[in-house]
Symmetry: D2
Subunit: 92 residues, 4 copies
């Protein structure tokens, strides 16, 4: 099932600057082939819903394995049956 | 990887009352064995992250197959390595 | 305008345990007379939209004045004109 | 207090296409002088927290007065005391 999504990853307890972790998370999304579009409050995605979720799991696994103790992630997903969901279709 | 989560499903274009779809979504979460706790702005969950995501996919599949054309879902997931994540541990 | 809402406050860079800040935030919401209902992923609220937002501002002011350097807050608000919005009306 | 934010407005029960309402909501944010940046999952904002919240209230008032019966809005706000919060500062 194709979906559009937004993913924002927040490392907790890693210090006030979270840039390294957020960059790392975005790179995992880019490698997932999900048309990742970075913006100031997350990364927009487009692709198979199962792959979007697998990418988020991979972010948690990756960051934890690299030392981040606590992670909160905020996800928006949208699907529709009347037309192919696309990030471009949500702009005007 | 164990996680806590919140899932809120919003059917779009199904009419002003979305109670039937929200109830249906919650039932899918209850059947997933994820310690589903309904509240006024979603369902809190606790369990394997991959199962949480599979349950959300199942909600989208179920609602679409039952006629809902458009669905937006808002998800919070949290994981930590210092202790077992639990819904009870997030209360005080 | 009456609304229902959910507010989740995440202090960033305050250490892995954020319990003290989250408790403090919840207390500000309780003092705001908004029918605050704590759950594992935030506090549900019911009341005037302007007062809900004022309470969130007060949380940021309070936590910053008490030393929290960085705060991310996630808010859901819902309003409707066909009936009085209420937290109880969103349960089933 | 200066903040960065994201606002996503979802009209419920207005039909499957919500483009008109979402465009209307974005226009209210643009008029609020908050450096509104549209993306596929909301509008990013930068400015005084109180003005961001006032703009969201104005969206609910405007859409309801123009006939939308039910609205759910998802808001992220972030503040920090170590440096001036900015949308540009959250990119890399």
């Amino acid at each position: 099932m194709k979906a559009t999504a937004e993913v924002q990853v927040i490392p907790i307890g890693s210090g006030v600057s979270v840039r390294a972790e957020v960059k790392r998370a975005h790179r995992v999304l880019e490698e997932a082939n999900l048309n990742a579009q970075l913006h100031s409050n997350g990364t927009n995605l487009e692709g198979e819903l199962s792959e979007i979720f697998r990418a988020v799991e991979k972010i948690h696994e990756t960051l934890h394995s690299e030392g981040t103790v606590r992670i909160a992630t905020f996800i928006k997903v949208a699907t529709r049956t009347d037309k192919e969901p696309s990030l471009a279709g949500k702009l005007f």
